[in-house]
Symmetry: C2
Subunit: 233 residues, 2 copies
């Protein structure tokens, strides 16, 4: 049963923090963040669970590292954007960067949850925010307004929102739709709203919102509001 000890046939790439973290991201991409366990991660890199601990301190450290990897990916993407940001142009500069960051999260749907549970600030994330503040400064923001702006944007600054009614991938829709319909009397406004939306967008069995459109709506609402404050300051 020498499945593991065959140094000849399988050259065995040495472990490293970076390799472990990349494998963790891959595992989460493929099987979801809940299936990221130290044992499975070890298997992914062809080692035993305890071997990982030579390269990472503990599982929390893996999660911290994952954030760095994703934030690095974001910085790489937004780093390629080079548009004017002076004066009124700040808005589209920020907008473009946020939407570019969002695309990274769309590739890693499990990532927002991980970001949200990290208390500590990691260098790549800090770097991203620094650049964002820079754009606002170009637009004439005071530090105070830029600070408020970051709070107002919240996680939207990084490209994601936490939807309260996340319909997932349409799973369980009929069920909850039926549930809502059956409560039409107690929920007149909500049911009315949903009926109209379903009517206007008939392709939906109530799928039910276009996330990208809604994200941009909220983003623009905030950016426009900030822009007005910038001008009247």
């Amino acid at each position: 049963m020498a499945t593991r000890n065959e140094p000849r046939t399988e050259p065995r790439i040495p472990l490293s923090r970076d390799r472990v973290l990349r494998a963790a991201v891959k595992l989460a991409d493929e099987s979801g963040i809940e299936s990221l366990t130290m044992r499975r991660l070890a298997e992914e890199v062809g080692a035993e669970a305890m071997s990982l601990y030579y390269h990472v301190a503990k599982k929390e450290d893996v999660l911290d590292g994952i954030v760095e990897v994703i934030a690095g990916e974001i910085n790489e993407v937004v780093g390629r954007i080079d548009v004017p940001s002076k004066g009124a142009a700040w808005k589209s500069a920020v907008r473009q960067r946020v939407l570019a960051a969002r695309e990274v999260f769309l590739r890693h749907p499990w990532a927002p949850r991980v970001f949200e549970t990290r208390a500590d600030v990691s260098p790549p994330v800090v770097q991203y925010f620094d650049a964002l503040i820079g754009l606002m400064r170009d637009g004439g923001f005071s530090y105070d307004l830029a600070h408020h702006a970051l709070h107002a944007l919240g996680s939207r600054a990084l490209g994601f929102t936490q939807e309260m009614f996340d319909p997932g991938d349409g799973a369980g829709d009929e069920e909850s739709t039926a549930m809502l319909e059956s409560m039409a009397e107690q929920l007149p406004h909500l049911v009315g709203m949903l009926r109209e939306i379903a009517h206007d967008d008939p392709d939906s069995t109530l799928g039910w919102c276009d996330d990208q459109t809604e994200f941009e709506f909220g983003l623009d609402l905030i950016l426009d509001g900030l822009d007005r404050m910038r001008e009247t300051a």
Copy 2:
């Protein structure tokens, strides 16, 4: 060792789904959500872990139930609010309710995380949103605008935001502040901003933001933007 089997001295309140859920909230309030395990929850209600399963399906069900309890608490609080909401008054009506809901979350700091991980919509939450839509309708919102509004508000509609740099209770502040200061060259904008904030608000060792103020800033920014759309519609 008849510590448990003494039906006389300890009358033993019967278990129930409601009692289990309330105990779960209490446990989370006192020791944090991460210490909410079926065994500890059982201990809290004076029973064995497996006994809980007669009243709840599984741990996920407990978390769903917790959301219902908290949302119920919110509905109770906002239900006592009765202010005009016709026309322009919609804004302060919504504002008041959101801030009232926020107070409930301030009493249960662990709750946002639980809300965010629930995919399914629970009746009390749905009821809350229905009332919110009702206020917007009073203000003259189309269903379409109300729908956009809910997305724009996101979790803010329920009274919380996910802060990207949550300083917790000031823990680890000096450390991260020092880290940032040492990176002043790479992070000119961020460090500049923080220096000014620290300067303007000298009591802070960088504690560092007034969450309530920032929450209201973002909320008002969004509500004002929506109000303008309402008027020009």
